[in-house]
Symmetry: C2
Subunit: 444 residues, 2 copies
């Protein structure tokens, strides 16, 4: 049984119950959304069963356009950088700052052990791209046999992976459509899949073996994340025939996966100019029958390497506002190198901002209360409460402490009047203080 | 004569010519937009006249919704932090990274000398809030005589300030409308003005003396920036009766300033939820007869102190897309302290991204060419060209060099093959390389 099949049969599972509580929604509503294919709870049975008596282990999380916007953090080593320990550390850092799911995209050494350690150490759903493990075991992707891939999927499913990205929608007919692109195929999995197809002059093996894959996914209730192998890699390539040709196939595959009783998400772009984001989100919802859209950014300008957590958070906010269910973060190192711990932190916070800004705008239950509480604390100069309500309390405190030291010097005990301003305006120009003074004058 | 009066009389000034060339537009179009009040060229005659034979000095810059989106950087010391030298240094840093205008908002010591040094050292228009100088010369704003303020405006106009923010639209009737707010009056100038009004039980002196102010502004062609003293300081307070009451008066004042022959911009919020940004931009355009809208952010969520360059760049992108002409940057230190050099850099780049993303989406002439060129360089692994086309070449290079060192080690001469990947994917998983390999296979 899967969450989808349970929902179809009218059953509310404990996981649906948990999601309903977290989202301030009715369990029956959650069930209906899952049955309609509009909501997934990525929770591999083996990951769920590994839950510990102390409450450790997977906490089910719902992903769907009717819920709070979720964010994913991509992690994992490469063949030339980082190691297993550092990546587990980064995963925990990502979760600490609010990642709702993590993907282990390791392509370096010891990826099997690393994956097991990540699954064992976090409470959020874990996703993978199983093709990478196959590649690690071969000299060239061209040597892959389809059975190698099915075995890798079964192995990772057994390990407890909650969702898997498989680039099954990219067909032979789409490849020539990328000829007019500036950036070709920028999806790692997509480019490897296309290379195999071109070398063998055969159809996409994940498309050809889709039914067998569905059977494995159903057995463990691994959620499909149908990968967008042809996502645009620059503004120029956005919304082209290759991207939308693949999207249409992804929609058909979503339907097929539902017939097998699987849960399904659809992956999305990438790089998209601001004025095309709404159209992209609506088109996905139509072509993929409402399956949750899991987008990477999108980046809205190509000229800011070193700041792509910002270029993409702008696009991600709009994507979520127009219906994306989950936002895959982008770090400042995107296009330049593997992110370190601090990049992970900056990427996660930028995406918590994007998700929250969209949720506030969509008036999701109880979302703006935290903003209002923080604003009240700000007006009351209650710094500790401001920090506690912040997305990154350590950073807010660090900046304020530095400011306070400049503004007031180091006195022991700290001068209480210093709590009433910061170094930006000083005591004479704080608008909040002036407002409070004029309110007092009005009462006299 | 002012740019506005020249335009009204059908004359194309050298400044209009310069703006037309920079924007790839016809000089006659620029003239028409200025005459319609939809475009300003903040260029104080004394600042223009200080131009040097080597080409140094003010370079005229157009601000209007038909032009590329401009960004402003706020700088200046406070009574408790920074000094004149550091602030001049930050101003130059802001301009280096792309600020189109700067505002000197100093409230600390030696602000007269600091202002003169800033005007003398940069090629971009300089704005101020003249009220701060008046405050510096008094113990309490309540002691201000209207003539003190007129004198300060005349003095700064004579110094060459190109545009001035004066909070003339905030009326007595608006003050009680702020009672239901969480954050009161968060504009420094607005709160000081309101305090004076409450203490004296008199109407806003800048409103009462608006005509005299216009005469000074016209004499030097100082552009009005009618300050939004009642801008919302948190999501809760956005789009309330106080904000829109003031906005309506600002529109009337814009008309009055045009009657005097002055150029006019209107300042805007602040903190606005994502779903209210379009409405806010459209409402300003209607209420203020198309006068250029100069917005501060807006911040789209209140829970991320330490990251408000991001929360606000999201709002700023949408604001520009829906018609704002200039975006005032926000730094990571907003709400916490005075920005340092690095904060200025981060704020400026976040806003260059916002402005550019909007300009690309609005299909402004030649804007996307730089993105496409960078994407071509990326696909060709031409790192030097990528850096050169980046908004922050130093940072992109720094991140890439670190990545390359990890990926390839330090060899001398550097191994050429290392140019073909970064530490994120390594040589085996670079999608660009894989695309090039499969393109080669297809040609065979």
């Amino acid at each position: 049984m899967t969450q989808y099949l349970e929902a179809k049969r009218g059953n509310i599972t404990p996981e649906m119950q948990t999601v309903a509580e977290a989202e301030f929604l009715e369990p029956e509503f959650i069930r209906r959304e899952i049955a309609a294919g509009r909501l997934v709870i990525p929770a591999n049975k083996n990951h769920l069963n590994s839950r510990k008596p102390d409450g450790g282990g997977l906490k089910p999380c719902g992903i769907g356009s009717a819920l709070r916007t979720k964010i994913n953090a991509n992690l994992g080593n490469s063949g030339v950088a980082s190691n297993a320990d550092d990546e587990v550390d980064k995963v925990q850092y990502a979760v600490k700052y609010g990642a709702d799911t993590v993907m282990d995209l390791s392509t370096g050494s010891e990826i099997d052990i690393l994956r097991r350690n990540i699954i064992g150490s976090v409470s959020v759903p874990v996703g993978t791209v199983p093709l990478y493990q196959v590649c690690e075991e071969l000299d060239d992707i061209v040597d892959m046999k389809p059975q190698d891939f099915l075995d890798a999927v079964a192995h990772q499913a057994e390990q407890g992976v909650d969702y898997m990205t498989i680039h099954a929608g990219l067909l032979q007919e789409h490849i020539p459509l990328t000829d007019s692109r500036l950036a070709g195929i920028v999806s790692r999995g997509g480019s490897l899949t296309a290379k195999w197809m071109v070398a063998h002059k055969q159809e996409n093996p994940f498309y050809s073996h889709f039914d067998e894959l569905c059977e494995i996914m159903r057995e463990y209730d691994v959620t499909w994340s149908i990968g967008d192998g042809l996502r645009p890699g620059c503004l120029h390539d956005a919304s082209d025939a290759a991207q939308f040709g693949e999207l249409s196939v992804m929609g058909q595959l979503a339907k097929r996966a539902w017939e097998f009783g699987c849960q399904v998400m659809i992956e999305g772009p990438g790089h998209v100019p601001l004025d095309q984001i709404e159209m992209n989100m609506k088109r996905q919802q139509t072509e993929c029958f409402g399956a949750p859209f899991y987008v990477l950014g999108p980046v809205v300008c190509d000229i800011a390497p070193g700041y792509d957590h910002i270029t993409s958070a702008i696009g991600a906010t709009l994507a979520a506002y127009y219906g994306a269910a989950m936002l895959c973060y982008v770090t400042p190192k995107e296009h330049l190198g593997l992110p370190d711990r601090e990049d992970v932190r900056n990427g996660v916070i930028a995406y918590k901002i994007a998700a929250h800004a969209a949720d506030v705008a969509l008036k999701r239950p109880h979302c703006r209360e935290r903003d209002d509480e923080l604003s009240r604390a700000r007006f009351a100069f209650d710094w500790e409460k401001q920090f506690a309500l912040s997305l990154d309390p350590e950073r807010a405190r660090e900046y304020y402490n530095r400011s306070r030291l400049t503004a007031c010097g180091e006195t022991s005990p700290p001068a209480a009047h210093c709590d009433r301003y910061c170094s930006k305006c000083g005591p004479q120009y704080c608008a909040l203080t002036t407002t409070q003074e004029l309110q007092e004058l009005r009462r006299q």
